[in-house]
Symmetry: C2
Subunit: 348 residues, 2 copies
């Protein structure tokens, strides 16, 4: 087995933490997913929130940039998204106030922070950084396809936006609680802010997609686990290239298939029926075998957020019998989720 030297310096963004979460004028939780994700999964790295009157709250202390700085904050994270991914003019006074208070600004928006001239000028004046986490590292190598030491788990999905990030985070947390040496490997902007590091896989040039995935989970100790956030779906008519490059480069020993019960069509593509869980398992194992012949399915993660507790419990039990695999909702947890994590550890 050839060990590839870990090129983690290329991956490590080393985001300045702790964060102040910026919520702006957002009134719907759906547009503040990043802020909620950070509150749920990186609470220890968030000192507070900054939002306008009438905006939603994620329940953290309300702080001005100066107060946040006094509490140790090193950056303000734009925790909201809008259609188009643009920096709104109404946000500018708060962003400028944060820079003046000594905070860097971290953004996962499509638009580059420095493309707003007032921000670029203020950052230079105050010697602060404008950090766009959607910018991939430079000099990503072409994938080698060589097997790396250590164990890898990849969350894959029947579709986009149904729980791959939360599933990977929950499994990573469960492994750490069991004392298993492990890392969560982030592949999207919110995951990267939570982990403080990672690679925005959908922003990588396609020739380097698998190479970026190799870089993201470098060779590690034999018992170390990388729990890798998935992206898209092999069945998605727009994003399958991202999913396949990530699958090939990650070389997972274990996949966990994520699904949202009741979803019948691909998000934003109503002419495409959702694949079944079984089809999704089969295709990921089939294609994943190319770079890791030992790949196996560790179980199924159901996003039952739209079901009642008893409906969720019944469905999880029924699906587990039907598929003959551990099935759980990682957010609900419980013994089903413990069994899923056990199974992943056993089969790799």
């Amino acid at each position: 087995m050839t060990l590839i030297p870990p090129a983690t310096d290329l991956v490590r963004l080393d985001l300045p933490r702790p964060y102040l979460l910026f919520l702006g004028d957002v009134t719907e939780a759906g547009y503040a997913k990043t802020a909620f994700g950070l509150r749920d999964w990186a609470r220890e790295h968030c000192v507070g929130e900054l939002s306008f009157a009438n905006a939603i709250s994620v329940g953290l202390p309300k702080l001005t940039p100066a107060e946040a700085r006094a509490c140790g904050a090193r950056s303000m994270v734009i925790g909201v998204a809008n259609v188009g991914g643009r920096i709104l003019d109404s946000w500018l006074p708060s962003l400028l106030e944060a820079l003046a208070a000594g905070l860097d600004i971290v953004s996962g928006m499509h638009a580059r922070l420095a493309a707003t001239p007032a921000l670029a000028a203020a950052a230079e004046r105050h010697h602060r950084r404008l950090i766009d986490v959607r910018t991939p590292p430079r000099d990503i190598p072409i994938a080698s396809g060589r097997k790396r030491s250590g164990k890898r788990l990849l969350a894959v999905g029947t579709d986009c936006a149904l729980g791959k990030k939360y599933t990977a985070l929950a499994i990573a947390r469960a492994l750490q609680q069991r004392g298993v040496d492990s890392d969560f490997r982030a592949t999207g902007q919110t995951g990267i802010m939570i982990a403080g590091t990672g690679i925005p896989m959908d922003a990588v040039v396609s020739d380097f997609e698998a190479g970026a995935a190799e870089l993201l989970s470098p060779a590690a100790a034999p018992n170390h686990w990388d729990v890798i956030e998935g992206q898209g779906s092999l069945f998605h008519p727009a994003y399958a290239a991202v999913s396949l490059g990530l699958l090939h480069g990650s070389q997972p020993d274990v996949i966990v298939v994520c699904h949202q019960p009741g979803r019948t069509h691909m998000l934003g593509h109503l002419q495409f029926a959702l694949p079944s869980i079984e089809e999704t398992i089969r295709l990921n194992l089939q294609l994943g075998q190319r770079t890791n012949p030992a790949i196996r399915c560790g179980g199924v993660s159901l996003n039952t957020s739209q079901l009642s507790e008893s409906e969720a419990r019944d469905l999880i039990a029924a699906e587990s019998r039907r598929l003959q695999l551990p099935v759980a909702d990682p957010i609900r947890g419980g013994p089903e989720f413990e069994r899923l994590v056990d199974h992943c550890l056993e089969i790799a």
Copy 2:
């Protein structure tokens, strides 16, 4: 059926032709593939060649930039490649001479032409363009997955660099000779220079890969054929993401599988066995069905350049019997190739 308006303005580079081919100091044909490709497939767009003493020749008239300009040339194409894809210092005097003579410069190298300060300055001084064909168009949309009118053929492969471009060019030429309304759609730098337009698919950000393929072969008349140059291989551990995005976005009605007899391992990846032709057909049909359920295999293109005429003829006949499909070497042509083209037209 929803017709997407052809966004060809985004694709059309409108490369300035005819070309003067620059060969520099290259002594091995393998490093001058672009120049040979242009000579073979766009002879009518090449007025001559410029090479140093002792360098190879592609057999075109030897012209200085000024002579080429007088013969109507509008640009000089860098027809050679080196490891690393860099502009060599020894080329600079010729490139500057070309700009001074009134020629634009066209490059398919990884390095941007304008990154060489002397070139950037000279181009500005002489009001000439430095054109990097590896730069994808801006504002590529996310793929819609919607079926487009017109017929599409995609050359796919068991591996990289075994004849997908030549196969697509030969089929496009054969269709034109039969009076079939058709276009060759280029996806790599040499193909783009030959066609004068196209999208460098391996340089597209992975989230937009399928969207770029949709843009490349826009909705067309029902009997129009797009013959699309393939990239990589679904089995390649580094480049499969490119191949899958291109397959999904191209929505081919017909694939032609390209293979080089005798190749046993993936190029540059000796630990990966080459897939069989049958496996390659199966996987491309399986995954291609996602965006075009009517996808079919039109035949197999063998690169028999390393075999004698009689060896090639015997192998082509044997493979055709074994696979129960038309098999041909498009470069050798002959009745086998005519049958392959017939079959592609019949099944779509």
